[in-house]
């Protein structure tokens, strides 16, 4: 892989990574949100894979395969299963901030991410660090989804988006974290999703809905 095509592939993967985050924000339906999240997992794996191929690092390539399997395969499958169990909950009907405004907020968050990462990029300008703003944008958009959506499942997707962004940031700035740390994070994530899926089921059993606003009062 030559240097220029390396930068181009990396840019392309980062573009897809960012675009899927905006797509998640755009959609009302939960099923396309989960599908977009799977595409984003693939884009993340592609970024790590491209980095690995560039640095000739077998470890990074293995991590890329693992990340792809977890984030484009297992996690979307789990989220999709939670969705199929509750067909009535398939739409984000009334987010706290409406979709048009949240898209404009995403635009503002992008600019914010670019502004705050400029000193980081200036430390060592390279094709990998120049796409750092995209990763930070995904972190911020994930946060935004987590804060403004009401359904438990869309909050799970927001959380996973946040984590995708953090992972991408780690790989882009430090060219990877030790394998053991990455494994730990991945298992954490898997457990978090499993627990949240359980929680969603219990929520629905108790209240008949997964609207987290119902959790404001204490019951006995």
């Amino acid at each position: 892989m030559t240097d220029s095509s390396y930068a181009q592939y990396l840019d392309l993967a980062a573009g897809l990574f960012l675009l899927t985050a905006v797509g998640v924000l755009w959609r009302h339906q939960l099923a396309p949100m989960v599908r977009l999240f799977a595409v984003q997992g693939f884009a993340l794996a592609a970024i790590v894979g491209i980095l690995g191929a560039h640095h000739h690092s077998i470890e990074l390539l293995l991590v890329a395969v693992g990340l792809g399997a977890l984030r484009a395969g297992v996690l979307p499958w789990l989220a999709g299963r939670a969705l199929r169990n509750a067909p009535a909950e398939a739409r984000e009907t009334r987010p706290v901030v409406n979709v048009a405004s949240s898209l404009l907020a995403a635009a503002a968050l992008t600019l914010l991410a670019y502004a705050v990462t400029r000193p980081l990029v200036a430390l060592s300008p390279s094709p990998a660090t120049t796409i750092l703003p995209a990763a930070v944008t995904v972190v911020l958009v994930g946060f935004f989804i987590l804060v403004t959506r009401r359904r438990a499942l869309s909050q799970v997707v927001g959380f996973l988006l946040l984590d995708n962004g953090i992972t991408a940031t780690a790989f882009l700035t430090a060219a990877g974290v030790p394998l053991i740390v990455e494994l730990g994070i991945s298992f954490d994530l898997l457990l978090a999703v499993l627990v949240m899926q359980m929680l969603t089921t219990r929520l629905r059993a108790a209240f008949g809905t997964t609207d987290l606003d119902e959790l404001r009062e204490l019951h006995d």
Partner: protein, 312 residues
């Protein structure tokens, strides 16, 4: 001299092809819906029929109603001359500026909206108000999206952008270019009044936009409005093709013209047929969700600008 000839050919081709393109789109849609369809020449036959009728205008309408079709066709003809569709060497090259093109598009739309208000009917007012809402969201997106493409070239001249892309084809695959392409595609659909923003096949819907504005036109005036709408569709699809697949566009030599014609016909037909086929599978969006779609395309355009600056 050759530049004038090339541009004249481009204008004539756009005028001749525009109704045929509308015919192709209707035919594709008809076939996919299991109908025979009226053939691709039907829009031209409609125009001929309308042009033969005596002119009539509703009582109480003023100059705004009467000049709108002429201004609409006039701006479309200027656009056909300046936008690089067949050749990048238009003698009007200094005017082929991004801002001028967007301004011309907006001028045509605003004139038609004024004419719709001039009729004083309920539908005219509703159509005008909706069209201006869409316009207010569409024009910034076009500007920002093409700005993303012009940032690398260092010029807002459309011909310069197209020539630069011809010299460096890999540029099309960059994230900035792909995001801008997605944003522009959505905006073109909205600007030309196709599904899911507006339904071009009916003037019996309460939520219609473009058809509500031209409801009072008849005879030759209606023919002009429809021709102008078809030309704008052709020009915008052609511009999309030129910006993101600039192959085959002739420079200042007449030799390249046949190839340019074939390439233009191929690109516009492919885009039009794709649009027509896509329309079969989608329903019209609720009017209140149209701003959501356009805000999304604006974000895409903004991301395109951001990436063209920061990834460069």
């Amino acid at each position: 001299m050759t530049r004038v000839v090339l541009t004249a050919v481009q204008v004539v081709v756009v005028v001749a092809v525009a109704p045929l393109l509308v015919g192709v789109m209707r035919q594709v849609r008809a076939r996919l819906e299991g109908r025979a369809g009226a053939g691709i020449g039907q829009p031209w036959r409609d125009l001929r029929k309308l042009l033969r009728r005596p002119a009539a205008s509703p009582a109480g309408t003023g100059w705004a109603f009467r000049i709108a079709p002429l201004v609409l066709v006039g701006t479309s003809l200027v656009l056909a001359a300046v936008v690089p569709l067949l050749t990048t060497a238009s003698p009007l090259d200094p005017a082929a500026d991004l801002f001028a093109v967007v301004g011309l598009l907006a001028l045509g739309t605003v004139t038609l909206a004024l004419a719709a208000l001039d009729t004083g009917t309920a539908f005219g007012g509703m159509g005008a108000s909706r069209e201006i809402t869409v316009l207010a969201l569409v024009e910034p997106t076009i500007l920002v999206a093409v700005f993303a493409l012009s940032a690398r070239v260092g010029s807002t001249n459309l011909a310069a952008i197209v020539t630069a892309t011809q010299h460096d084809p890999l540029r099309v695959a960059s994230p900035a270019s792909l995001l801008a392409a997605a944003a522009l595609a959505i905006v073109v659909v909205a600007e030309t009044g196709r599904l899911p923003v507006d339904n071009p096949a009916t003037h019996l819907e309460l939520t219609m936009i473009h058809e509500a504005m031209v409801l009072e036109y008849a005879g030759p005036d209606l023919a002009l409005v429809e021709l102008a709408a078809a030309m704008r569709l052709t020009i915008l699809l052609g511009l999309l093709g030129s910006l993101f697949a600039p192959w085959g566009i002739a420079g200042s030599a007449v030799v390249g013209l046949p190839l340019a014609l074939i390439a233009f016909a191929g690109k516009v037909t492919a885009l039009g047929a794709g649009l027509g086929a896509g329309e079969v599978f989608i329903a019209k969006l609720r009017l209140f969700r149209v701003p959501e779609l356009l805000a999304g395309s604006f974000v895409l355009a903004l991301l395109a600008v951001a990436s063209s600056f920061f990834l460069a």
